[in-house]
C-alpha cells in the first residue's frame, strides 16, 4: 500500500516537473521589476514576501499552477478533449500567450481576457460547460497558462480596433467613484510608494495575476482585485467578466507594458 502510494506520488511528481522545469529563469534580478518608471507590485513588498514569491517551493500560488497543470490534461465535455489534446505541451504552446492578454477579439467585437478565452475554448471546442469565474479550476488554468510566460515582458495592443475600449478603460481609471469619491489614478498614479496606514500604496500593476494574496489566504483574479478596490472605495463593483472590468483590465495591463509576467505573484 505504502509502495503504491509512493509510486503514485513519484509518478505525479514526474508528470508535474517537466513544465515547471522549462519555465523562464526565476527569480528575476530585482532590476527587472521596474521598466521606465513602471513598477511591479513586487517592488513595494517587504523582503520576506518577495522571497515567498521568488521560491517556487514556498510560493503558495504554485498550488494553483499545479492544479491547472492537472486540469490542462483532463478530458472534459462532449467532444472528448482536454486542453492538451490540441495545445499539447503548454510550456511550448502557451509561452508568451498571457503576456498578450487581454486583447481585442474580432469574434466578440470587444475585449477578451484569459479567463473568458479559456471558457470560450471549453464551450466551443470541448463542448464543456464554462468554468465559474474565480472558481479554483479557472484560477488554476489561468495561473498555469500565465506561469508559462513568467519573466516575459507584457506586450498589450491598444491601437487599432482595441483603441475605443482602451479609452473606456482609461476613463474608468480616472473616474472618481464611491462614497470616498476617489479614482484609481489618485492613489495608484499620484501616491504610489506612500503609506496608507500600514500599507504601501503600489502602482496597481497586474503583471502577476492571477496572484496569491496573503490578506485573502487565497488566489485571486484581476477582476476580484478590481472588485476589492471598488468596495474599499465604497463604490458599487461590476460583475466579474463585465465589459467595464475588461476595458479597465486592458488599460491597466497597457499601463504596465514591458513589466515581466510574474504569475503567480504573491502580494500582501
Amino acid at each position: 500500500m505504502t509502495r503504491t502510494l509512493l509510486l503514485t506520488f513519484s509518478f505525479l511528481c514526474s508528470a508535474l516537473l517537466p513544465p515547471l522545469a522549462q519555465a523562464q529563469q526565476w527569480p528575476l534580478p530585482a532590476a527587472r521589476f521596474e521598466v521606465e518608471g513602471r513598477k511591479s507590485g513586487y517592488f513595494y513588498l517587504g523582503r520576506q514576501t518577495q522571497i515567498l514569491e521568488d521560491d517556487d517551493f514556498q510560493n503558495p500560488g504554485m498550488f494553483a499552477v499545479e492544479a491547472g497543470s492537472a486540469l490542462w490534461r483532463k478530458v472534459e465535455g462532449e467532444a472528448g478533449l482536454s486542453c492538451a489534446s490540441c495545445h499539447n505541451n503548454a510550456a511550448v504552446t502557451m509561452k508568451g500567450v498571457s503576456a498578450r492578454y487581454p486583447r481585442f477579439d474580432a469574434e466578440k467585437g470587444g475585449i477578451i481576457n484569459l479567463e473568458l478565452m479559456i471558457n470560450r475554448e471549453r464551450e466551443q471546442r470541448m463542448k464543456a460547460p464554462p468554468l465559474k469565474y474565480e472558481s479554483e479550476q479557472l484560477i488554476g488554468l489561468t495561473a498555469y497558462i500565465g506561469y508559462q510566460s513568467r519573466g516575459l515582458p507584457r506586450a498589450i495592443e491598444v491601437a487599432g480596433p482595441a483603441a475605443p475600449f482602451y479609452e473606456k478603460g482609461k476613463e474608468f481609471f480616472f473616474q472618481r467613484r464611491g462614497l470616498t469619491d476617489i479614482s484609481c489614478a489618485m492613489c495608484h498614479d499620484d501616491l504610489a510608494g506612500a503609506n496608507l496606514r500600514g500599507d504601501v500604496i503600489s502602482q496597481g500593476q497586474i503583471n502577476g495575476f492571477p496572484f496569491y494574496r496573503l490578506q485573502w489566504r487565497s488566489m485571486g483574479s484581476t477582476h476580484r482585485m478590481f472588485e476589492w478596490c471598488n468596495t474599499s472605495m465604497r463604490a458599487e463593483p461590476y460583475p466579474y467578466g463585465s465589459e467595464e472590468y475588461l476595458n479597465l483590465e486592458l488599460y491597466v495591463a497597457w499601463r504596465g507594458r514591458g513589466l515581466p509576467v510574474e504569475t503567480p505573484a504573491v502580494r500582501k
Binding site: 467613484r177 464611491g178 469619491d181 503609506n195 496608507l196 465604497r234
Partner: protein, 159 residues
C-alpha cells in the same frame, strides 16, 4: 522685448489695482441636501455649528480614530502614539488646533473639495455629486452632524 515687459508690468499693475479696489465679498453658498442638516459656506468656512449640542472632544477622539470609518490616521500623522502605522499621504495633524479656526476646520471636514476640488481628502458630511456609491452606503455620510462637531472639538485640542 522691452515693450513686452512693459506691457506685462502694466497688466500686473492694473490687476493689482482692481483687486485692491474691489475686495470682493466672500462667496456664500447655501447647501441643503436633505436629510443632512442645511449649512452655509462663507468663503472657506462654515461659521455656524451643524448641531445645537456643543462638540464633545472625548467622543470626538473616538470618531476620528474609528478604524472602520475613514480614520484620520489612514492618511495623516497624529500625536497619538498608541495608534500604530500612521499614514503619510497628508500633512500631520499635530498642532492643527493652533493653525486653523473652527469655521475653517468645519468646512474641511464637511466637504474639503469646496476648498480644493482635486483633493483626495474625504468629505465626511456630503451627499451630492457622487458617482456609483456602493448600494449599502447610498444616502449615508461618513459622519453624522454631531460627529463633525465632536471631531472639531477634539482636533482643536491638538495645539
Amino acid at each position: 522685448m522691452v515693450r513686452l515687459v512693459l506691457a506685462i508690468a502694466l497688466l500686473v499693475a492694473a490687476g493689482t489695482a482692481a483687486f485692491a479696489q474691489q475686495q470682493p465679498a466672500p462667496r456664500v453658498i447655501e447647501v441643503n441636501t436633505p436629510p443632512l442638516v442645511p449649512y452655509r459656506i462663507v468663503g472657506n468656512t462654515i461659521p455656524e455649528p451643524l448641531t445645537a449640542q456643543p462638540g464633545d472632544p472625548v467622543r470626538g477622539k473616538r470618531v476620528v480614530t474609528d478604524a472602520t470609518n475613514g480614520t484620520c490616521v489612514l492618511c495623516h500623522a497624529m500625536p497619538l502614539p498608541e495608534e500604530p502605522n500612521h499614514g503619510n499621504i497628508a500633512p500631520s495633524l499635530a498642532g492643527i488646533g493652533s493653525r486653523i479656526t473652527v469655521p475653517e476646520l468645519r468646512l474641511r471636514l464637511v466637504d474639503a473639495k469646496r476648498i480644493n476640488p482635486d483633493t483626495i481628502m474625504l468629505s465626511y458630511y456630503r451627499l451630492h455629486d457622487l458617482t456609483r456609491v456602493q448600494q449599502q452606503y447610498v444616502g449615508r455620510t461618513y459622519w453624522a452632524a454631531q460627529d463633525v462637531e465632536d471631531a472639531i472639538a477634539y482636533l482643536m485640542t491638538l495645539k
